[in-house]
């Protein structure tokens, strides 16, 4: 598809009609077209820019839930339970599993695991993993673009699953509508630090595996640390046992409440504006980082400055200042 479209550009014949077909099939929910479009995003195919521009006006109908938490808290089982319960409500569900995988393992671990579940046979459930692989592009940009594709394809709810509390995960979660943090008792002391990194962005905290000892203390701790967020939402804490479905209905009720809050809130437009501001900033900063990394590495003075730092004639920040001046960055 990508190759064909490129050819059509060169020939300047029938290009738009063909792309319109592709766009229409995405909008109709055709799984192969959705998969192709997301692969084009991962491969940084320039054609996809036009597709996204065409799709953008019809996005905004899917509610996007980010789900994150450290390894071992049972996120996948929880997501499987969520899918099951949402399907009973006849909702169309998408799952985007963010996989910060290395070229060594080849990626797609999260997605594979979910795909092995029975839900993949359900035409109203679309599961896909996103990986940055060897590409220079930011995972959050790929995610945002893929969310537009899924949103335009008519899904009611899209779950974005991430592992970890790093900056790239936080950037991804910032573009979702509801952030669910999955924790569990007995994670040891440094769950405190993990949680701290996510406390500000979490809308709903789940204490999963709540049959384990210490779940009440964890519940109380999170509840007492909760504060009204910038958007005036009060974070909620839910206890679940995803293995037997306990608490899943409460979690869905909480996600619904967050959705109502966003839709009815007087601050609705400011929440949306804030999200758009973050998106525009992310696109520009991401591009800038790529452009300038290349510029710096290829600058004729770079190697000699590295040598001067190596021989301790200057420190890395002095070298950086000199390069910034040469590149005319204020």
């Amino acid at each position: 598809m990508a190759k064909l479209s490129k050819l059509y550009i060169l020939l300047d014949i029938n290009y738009y009609p063909m792309m319109d077909d592709f766009v229409s099939s995405i909008v109709s929910g055709d799984r192969r077209s959705i998969a192709k479009a997301i692969s084009m995003i991962e491969n940084e195919d320039p054609i996809v820019d036009d597709i996204l521009s065409k799709l953008y006006p019809i996005t905004g109908n899917a509610f996007v839930v980010g789900i994150t938490g450290p390894p071992g808290t049972g996120k996948s089982t929880l997501i499987n339970s969520l899918i099951e319960n949402y399907r009973k409500l006849d909702k169309k569900i998408g799952v985007l599993a963010i996989d910060p995988s290395s070229p060594i393992t080849g990626g797609s671990l999260l997605g594979d695991r979910l795909r092995m579940s029975t839900h993949n046979l359900d035409p109203n459930v679309y599961i896909r993993s996103m990986s940055s692989g060897n590409r220079s592009g930011g995972l959050s940009q790929y995610t945002r673009r893929s969310l537009s594709i899924l949103d335009a394809s008519g899904l009611d709810l899209i779950i974005v699953e991430t592992v970890g509390a790093g900056q790239s995960e936080v950037d991804i979660l910032k573009i979702t509508d509801a952030v669910v943090i999955v924790l569990m008792p007995e994670l040891g002391d440094d769950i405190q630090i993990y949680k701290a990194g996510l406390m500000e962005i979490g809308d709903i905290f789940v204490v999963n595996k709540s049959d384990l000892e210490g779940s009440d203390q964890m519940y109380t701790k999170i509840l007492s640390a909760s504060k009204l967020k910038n958007d005036n939402w009060m974070p909620q804490v839910i206890k679940t046992e995803s293995i037997n479905g306990t608490g899943i209905d409460e979690l869905i009720a909480s996600i619904n409440e967050r959705e109502k809050f966003i839709n009815n809130s007087s601050s609705r437009s400011s929440i949306k504006e804030n999200k758009i501001q973050n998106e525009i900033l992310a696109v520009i900063i991401d591009d800038l980082s790529k452009t300038f990394s290349d510029k710096i590495k290829n600058h004729s003075d770079f190697q000699s400055l590295v040598q001067q730092v190596l021989s301790k004639k200057m420190d890395p920040e002095q070298a950086a200042s000199i390069l910034k001046e040469k590149l005319e960055i204020e």
Copy 2:
């Protein structure tokens, strides 16, 4: 100190002699001066630039070990065991605990926990947590600068502890000499994804809590996934039980081997060059992100572009392109 130095600049009297005193006291290992300098880094006090430039020529003697892993794997107990064993070898040790904490919790959780140990009474052990707090600066830049202070203060070994596998953690680990990834059996399936994100940067993998079931399988899995790294180092896998000290000697032997490898390797200078290149790039990209975030947010067209995206007249990437053109970013 910061305030006084600023005053001396204004008066232009005795400024350098005074700064030289401060620099000397850091070099002599004075704990209060080290603490002050690191606080100045966290507060982005411009005076610290000169201090770092003066210290840089005498850095490079400390071996820097990055230790990371998901919550609950027992990193703190492991680090306490390492400190104990290194102290028996009469090594001076520093620990920099990287804390991606939120303004809500106030941070310093990692450091506090380590500080509560008996080691804090030992004058040859310096424990400090680094937090980005509300500041815009990158944690990796603060870390790099603080490492220079600790290195110049005469420590033999500095441990940098992080939680999580996000990009900011990876950036921090890239500026260390040896990266130790702490895992444990029974972390559930998504340890695969967590590990995948770190597989390329890990020099030593620790299977901690190796008395638990599944440790042999995990050991074998990691070993079979290990590949020669770019710098020609073959990652090692060590089984430990940090709670009773089992395997700590093997871990120290492995860290020593990595140190010898870096010092004796024919690729020594290329390893160091690579590290310096990463440092210079990180400084510039970090500055760029800050500068342009502000420029974009304050640009007179920003709000109207956000409104146009909000009303779906364009998508965020079109808005980004327009802003990039206006800001004259190629």
